[in-house]
Symmetry: C2
Subunit: 197 residues, 2 copies
């Protein structure tokens, strides 16, 4: 069974790509991040709510403030990457729904007036977008090093003082450095992951 | 700025692809689903925990039992699709960690002995995998119609009596039918979604 996606693209995004744990010094430019964003922005979210926000951590000061909240090896790993992204959910994503979902602008108030609803929907849809983003970074010929071992409440206080952004993932981005990859771990077989009813 | 991913693949996965709301009768085979799974299984999860499980809803009886829990137009839309997938998080994903993360089998007990921890980590990582899966369906030349307008607690009782699976998304899969696509809605600009610090 062959896929419609060509083999080189399968390798680039899935089969040959792996999480990178070290990086070269080669910079990641704003133009590269923009090209990634302009690709992955098209992938779907519920009601096109698009709640994911990215913070590019570039300055030396911001990098130090970020790694204060890292656990274990994630601190040094992050300092070694040419670019680090903080992924967060915009809890006020509903404010943009009249623009993002123009054929039914009323859903902003009908579905999303409650913060508790936005927290759940926002987290789910921003996480979906994180999946698209990881593949988008690979689509740019770069390696991604996604991490969840951070004190995200600490990051939110440090970077998002107004309480409207909830960070949930940090991704190092760059060209893979020496010994960047662990050996590929096993995956579940089709029969372990899939059932038919 | 050009991406490493070729233009045809960019179009297939992101730029030209859209959520489908109707489907032709052309069947989606088990071989197609297996090819999709064998691609997307490689994309990363934390500790390779791979908590996503798929239920292929094929029999007439199972389809009827599923759409009982659909909201609004999702019921008829689902009945019109040649294949529907229920995505769920396996709350016992940690049982497979000694196989999936062989270089540190102790994390099964060190990190994941508490159900409350598995609920949070499992939901986040299964949702990441849902993002990979949506793109994987497109990689097979098929259209995806992801939906969250279902009574998921009802689906869990109906299909997963043991309480170990938490469903969170339903995806119709097939070739797009007549008037399958809404006009593309706007996306946030780079400056609306991205900040540099």
């Amino acid at each position: 069974m062959s896929l419609a996606l060509d083999a080189a693209a399968q390798d680039l995004l899935f089969r040959e790509a792996q999480t990178a744990n070290s990086f070269t010094d080669e910079p990641v430019t704003d133009e590269q991040v923009q090209a990634i964003y302009d690709l992955v922005k098209y992938a779907p979210t519920a009601f096109n709510q698009s709640p994911l926000r990215l913070t590019l951590v570039r300055s030396a000061d911001a990098r130090e403030r970020l790694v204060k909240h890292a656990m274990g090896a994630n601190g040094p790993k992050t300092l070694s990457a040419p670019l680090t992204l903080v992924l967060s959910t915009d809890l006020d994503f509903h404010e943009k729904l009249p623009t993002l979902f123009p054929h039914a602008p009323g859903i902003k108030d009908a579905y999303f007036s409650e913060l508790s609803v936005r927290e759940v929907a926002g987290a789910q849809n921003a996480t979906l977008q994180a999946g698209y983003l990881i593949l988008g970074i690979r689509a740019a010929g770069l390696a991604a090093g996604p991490m969840t071992g951070f004190d995200f409440a600490g990051i939110d206080k440090e970077f998002f003082g107004d309480g409207k952004q909830k960070s949930f993932m940090v991704i190092n981005v760059g060209k893979p450095g020496a010994d960047a990859f662990f050996p590929r771990s096993p995956r579940l077989s089709f029969d372990e992951a899939v059932t038919t009813v």
